[in-house]
Structures are given as structure tokens and as C-alpha cells.
Assembly symmetry: none
Homo-oligomer: 225 residues x 2
DNA sequence: CTTCTATAACCAAAATTTTCATGGTGTAAA
DNA sequence: TTTACACCATGAAAATTTTGGTTATAGAAG
């Protein structure tokens, strides 16, 4: 994921950059209107984090320019101004979301992810892994040309595996992803085995190879070998 | 990976401990300044999770003491204080990151992993030693192009050897790192021999040279000669 | 009411970790 | 040099933990 951070306050942009870089994203950075404008026109970003209070220009103008071009980068406004007017002005001009300072980085991340998901699944909403195709919008899964009917949990599980292909996913992570905070992590979640088993069974009935391996003591890994 | 959780609120530290233990890590725990201070001085941790609001002392002092010693444990501050000043104070004293409560456990895990990666592997997921490659995220080990399947203890042992390459590691240090304080250090841990043997066997079956030498009366050394 | 889905409970199977017994090896002192 | 002894290596078996598969039940959806 590629992100542009437009922000002049060093303490803030450093922590944002560190954070998103640490998450494995590509981050760029602009401290003023001029360099931001140049970067926006030259490159494409999955999401632009835009601070409204820039030293040499009005941040909203960047947004106007962006929208006048054909670009479709996501825009998240971050600003200390918390009046409703500012908020509406930003959203009216086509920003995807608005976050008031100060905020938690995890909050910021959640918002950015939401924007990117919304944008990406709009056009290209199919995840592919060899002969497996998953349409996340139509919630349809095919192996080769045969469709396999998955339940919701099975589907979520598959999407999670596919977006973490070739990595070991722990059972904790699976539980947190599929069941969120409702699930007490000290509970046993043996029933994950049942969902995993059902998913494997349906995939193999559809004719897929056995991509999913268990990693003893840790979790699972979805990969080629 | 060995982690120390310094936190006095039972609900929170229990879920953190459950989570990280479930991920296959060694976790220890302190509820106050005194015991935290003792553990920090006696042992080494990959990462210390430090809550600033302790009942009997100022958490930041622990950080100061740690930095004054030669230790290089990673430190992640977790705190309810979300002012920028608090944040900067912690980072100025040498903390590696700062996370504001409340947070998601997966978020915490990501931060801890990032810290450990940065410290131990130059921010890289892959550790290399001649023909040996270890991907700590995919949990995959290869010698040349052949993959060798290691168990968790073997894997941890190898990672520990590789991050202490060309140094002699004592058996005590190995035991402490792989088993933490569940293991009474007065016990004999002869079974380390077994794990070492199994690791050596699998590596040599994969075609690796015999990099691991025992150092009589001390421990082992993983190196070229 | 019927059918499908999600969770629970249970036991069997598999993998890992630890224990144990035995013999070999390095070191230092006699 | 020899000897005693602690240390290390190894193989096999026991103990423990984790996973797989079956079946049962509750609850939602149709």
C-alpha cells in the first residue's frame, strides 16, 4: 500500500511514517503545499493523509485540484479543526474521511484501511491464488470453473488465508480476525478446526490442491508447496 | 521470542500473556516496580511491554535504569496517557515505541514484532548465514534451495544461534531464552542436547556444513570455523 | 416446520517435547 | 600418562500437546 503524508509537524508525521512503514507500507511525505502538489500530480497513492493547516497554502485546495484531475487516490483529512463546517467542507470536496487531532495511530490505520478497501474492491474485487478465485463482493468462490458454496465463516477464513498467503497465520490472529473482540482469547476455540476442515473439504471437492498446511503449535499456512 | 509484561491490571495482563503465549512465545510477568526491576536486571528479553502507571513507582524510571545498563532489550510503552508530551518523554528516554490504551492485541503484536525485527534482523524478515536462510515471518528454513522442516523449539534455537552468531552462548542463556522462568534453573536441562542434536541433524540432512560447535563446559557457538 | 450454519464435545491420530539409559569425549588433577 | 569425572551425543521410549474427524445441539434463516 502506498501512502502520502502531507503534514508539517515533525513529531506527528514522523510517528505516522514510522507506523505505516513498520506495517510494511510504502510511505512518502510532504511538508508543504508546493511539494505535496508536485507529488500528487506525479504519482498515484492508495491513500493521501492531508493536514489542512499547511504553512504555505490551503490544504483544501489540494483536494480540489486532485478531484479536478482524473486521479482517484483516497483522501483522509487530518486536522485540528473540529468544527462541523470544516468537516463538511472537506467531505463536500470529495474527501473520503475526516479525522480530528489528536487521534490514535490505530484509529488512523483503521480509517485508511477502510478507505482503501472501499476503493479497491470497487473495481477489482477478485482475489486469485492459482486455480482459486474469490470474488469478495459477490461472495463467490470458484476452483477452476466449478463454483464451491462456502458458508460465511468459511469464506472469511479463505479470504484471510489468501490475503496472508505464504505466511504462517496463528490461531490467535484467525480468531481475532474472524470473531473480533467478542471472543475471549483465553477460551478454547477448537471449533476453528471444524471450519478449517470444512473449508479444506469443500476446496478439495472443487478440485483444488491441498494448499493449506497446519503448522504444529502455531496455526496454518496457505501456500504452494 | 521472550517477552516481559509489566502491568498491574489483571484483565489486561492476562489477555496479553494468553495471546503471546498462544503465539508460541515465552512470556514473563511483573505487577510492580520492584519485581519488574529485578527481572530486568537478572534476565534478557526480546521486548519489554511497560505500563507507565505502576502502583509503587514510576515506570519511566525502569526505562532510565535499563538504558543506563548495557542491556539492549526492546521497550514498548503501553499507557493510558495519550498526550504528545508523555509520548515524547517515553521515546526520548529510549523506548522503541509507544502504544496508547486501549489497543487491539493484534496491534500490539505487530508493534512488538516490528521492534524485534528492527533490533535483531535490521528490520528484515530473513536471517541469512551462508547457505542457511530463515524467514521468521513465514517460519520457513532453507539450506540452499532445500527446505528443512523444523519444529518450534528447533526453529527458536536456530534463530537464537543465528542472532548470536560467532558468539558463545551458554546453556543457561539458551534455557532462559527458550523456556523462560517455568524452568527451574537448578533442574538439569539435558533435553537441550536432544534439541541441539535434532537441529544439527536436520540442518546437515539439508546439506549445511556443521556450523555448530559445542564449547566444553559452557555451551555452543554457531560460526564458520 | 424444515434446513442450513455455527459452535460444542468428544475421542482418535499425529506431532512434538521431554525423559531416560548408555556410551563417548574433553579436561584437569594425580 | 593415566585416571576420574563432569560434560556431551545419541537413540528410543514415554509423556504431553496439538490436530483431525465425527457426531450432537442450539439457533438462525428460509
Amino acid at each position: 500500500m502506498k501512502i502520502l503524508v502531507i503534514e508539517d509537524e515533525p513529531a506527528l508525521y514522523e510517528s505516522i511514517l514510522d507506523y505505516f512503514t513498520g506495517e510494511g507500507n510504502i510511505c512518502e511525505h510532504a511538508v508543504n503545499f508546493a511539494s505535496a502538489s508536485e507529488k500528487i500530480s506525479l504519482y498515484n497513492y492508495d491513500c493521501i493523509l492531508l493536514d489542512l493547516g499547511l504553512p504555505d497554502g490551503e490544504g483544501l485546495e489540494l483536494l480540489t485540484n486532485l478531484k479536478n484531475s482524473k486521479k482517484k487516490d483516497g483522501v483522509l483529512i487530518i486536522s485540528a479543526r473540529h468544527s462541523l463546517d470544516d468537516r463538511l467542507a472537506g467531505l463536500d470536496l470529495g474527501a473520503d474521511d475526516y479525522l480530528v487531532k489528536p487521534f490514535h495511530l490505530s484509529e488512523l490505520k483503521a480509517r485508511v484501511s477502510a478507505i482503501v478497501r472501499r476503493k479497491n474492491f470497487d473495481g477489482n474485487n477478485i482475489i486469485t491464488f492459482n486455480d482459486i478465485n474469490v470474488d469478495v463482493v459477490a461472495m463467490k468462490t470458484t476452483v477452476g470453473k466449478t463454483e464451491v458454496g462456502l458458508t460465511k465463516k468459511e469464506f472469511d477464513l479463505l479470504v484471510y488465508f489468501l490475503s496472508n498467503r505464504n505466511k504462517v497465520v496463528t490461531k490467535n490472529a484467525m480468531a481475532e480476525h474472524l470473531w473480533g473482540d467478542e471472543m475471549d482469547l483465553s477460551d478454547d476455540f477448537d471449533f476453528i478446526y471444524t471450519h478449517v476442515k470444512n473449508l479444506k473439504k469443500k476446496l478439495s471437492e472443487g478440485g483444488a490442491k491441498d494448499y493449506l498446511r497446519s503448522v504444529y503449535g502455531i496455526g496454518y499456512k496457505f501456500s504452494d508447496q
